[in-house]
């Protein structure tokens, strides 16, 4: 597979090295001449010391025959343009963008970037999973961004504890499909009784969130009552 990597920072550098090791054909574009030379010294002449946002240099790098373009610079706007140019001007099949500002994820997806990797979101998710939360945890946006993968950590006061999904009013367009209990994942069936400490995994439309929150976490009034 021919992969065009744009951005020779830490991510681009290690990505390129790993791809070469796995036997792929790789070209790396890095606009900073010094940085480009430095990488080229180590991994050879597959580094193009030019701006991957410029159509001219993308063409020179062989963008028109790339299977995948990975835009991993530190600037979201650059990554967006690289992916859009790759897709629409060079008909690259798959574009991957690194997104630093999680707020840009939806826009990028909407504008046709095939895959979005957000290190900020990943670290944030990891931190949120470590601290007890009384809210729904967003694991990922799916589809065109209108579906969310959600985790609910059931606390003692949760209205769902001691009940099975069939006893709850699950909003339409939403599915509770798995539970993590004691670190083990298992399917959540309509008659599985949920326990305190369970992590319920659900998928549903963004609008369902409030309803789902009431069913699994409890709303503000129930919290006050206990």
């Amino acid at each position: 597979m021919f992969v065009l990597v744009v951005g020779g920072g830490k991510v681009g550098y290690y990505l390129t090295k790993e791809l070469i090791e796995s036997g792929h054909e790789v070209v790396l574009m890095e606009k900073d001449r010094k940085r480009a030379d430095q990488i080229a010294d180590e991994i050879g002449s597959i580094v193009i010391p030019h701006d991957g946002c410029e159509g001219k240099y993308l063409a020179e790098a062989g963008a028109n025959r790339a299977d995948i373009v990975a835009a991993v610079t530190g600037d979201d706007e650059d990554n967006l343009v690289i992916c859009q140019m790759a897709k629409h001007h060079f008909a690259v099949r798959r574009s991957i963008a690194r997104v630093n500002n999680p707020k840009n994820e939806r826009l990028f997806k909407h504008l046709g970037v095939d895959e979005i990797i957000s290190p900020t979101r990943m670290i944030l998710g990891s931190i949120e999973q470590d601290i007890p939360v009384h809210e729904l945890l967003h694991l990922a946006a799916l589809g065109e961004g209108e579906l969310e993968l959600i985790e609910a950590h059931l606390q003692a006061g949760s209205p769902a504890v001691g009940k099975a999904p069939k006893d709850l009013e699950i909003p339409e367009g939403c599915s509770l499909f798995a539970v993590i209990r004691g670190g083990v994942a298992m399917p959540l069936r309509p008659d599985t009784i949920m326990r305190e400490g369970d992590k319920v995994i659900a998928i549903g439309k963004t609008e369902c969130e409030t309803l789902l929150h009431g069913q699994l976490i409890g709303n503000a009034e129930t919290a006050d009552a206990r």
């Binding site: 159509g55 343009v81 826009l107 504008l111």
Partner: protein, 175 residues
């Protein structure tokens, strides 16, 4: 007419002054407050410090539902992104992005953004003055294609260099 200008450089500040004097509502956004010194003391519009590619910032600045949205920072890609945020998220009606790379300017005109390419404009101006042949791509390049979110039309068969050149004033596009 509500006009939002992202990037208060020479061009941005000049247009802000012109539109303000003409009685239009003008909102200028720049990441640096220093840039606002380019605005005349008589400027009656609003100047907001912030990132013009950030939807929330633009919303807070009151950029929603703008009749005209001009992305004029010194970064081509920032202008591209700000324009797309304006079209997709803020329902801006007429959007112009300054893109100095001619290839990128042509490509984005095909994706539905009116583009302004200083490189081509200046090259043409100098050539014309010298009596040499010009590309003819004067003014703002009107969008020659449309952009509907995820469904892009395929540009692979039409190299951007052959894109039909507008050279006409910006025409309204449907967001």
């Amino acid at each position: 007419m509500k006009t939002v200008i992202v990037g208060c450089g020479r061009v941005g500040a000049t247009l802000a002054e012109i539109f303000d004097k003409a009685g239009h509502e003008v909102i200028v956004v720049d990441t640096s407050t220093m840039a606002f010194e380019r605005l005349p003391s008589t400027f009656g519009g609003s100047a907001v410090r912030g990132d013009g590619t950030d939807e929330d910032t633009l919303r807070r600045a009151g950029a929603e539902d703008a009749d005209v949205f001009l992305a004029l920072t010194e970064g081509d890609n920032r202008n591209v992104m700000a324009s797309q945020v304006a079209i997709e998220g803020l329902a801006a009606r007429r959007v112009v992005a300054k893109i100095n790379d001619p290839l990128r300017a042509a490509a984005y005109a095909e994706l539905g953004i009116a583009t302004l390419c200083r490189t081509t404009l200046m090259a043409d101006a100098v050539s014309a003055w010298l009596g040499e042949p010009v590309s003819g791509a004067s003014g703002v390049r009107s969008p020659s294609g449309t952009h509907h979110g995820g469904e892009h039309h395929d540009l692979s068969e039409t190299p951007a260099s052959e894109a039909p050149d507008g050279g006409q004033p910006v025409t309204a596009r449907e967001a």
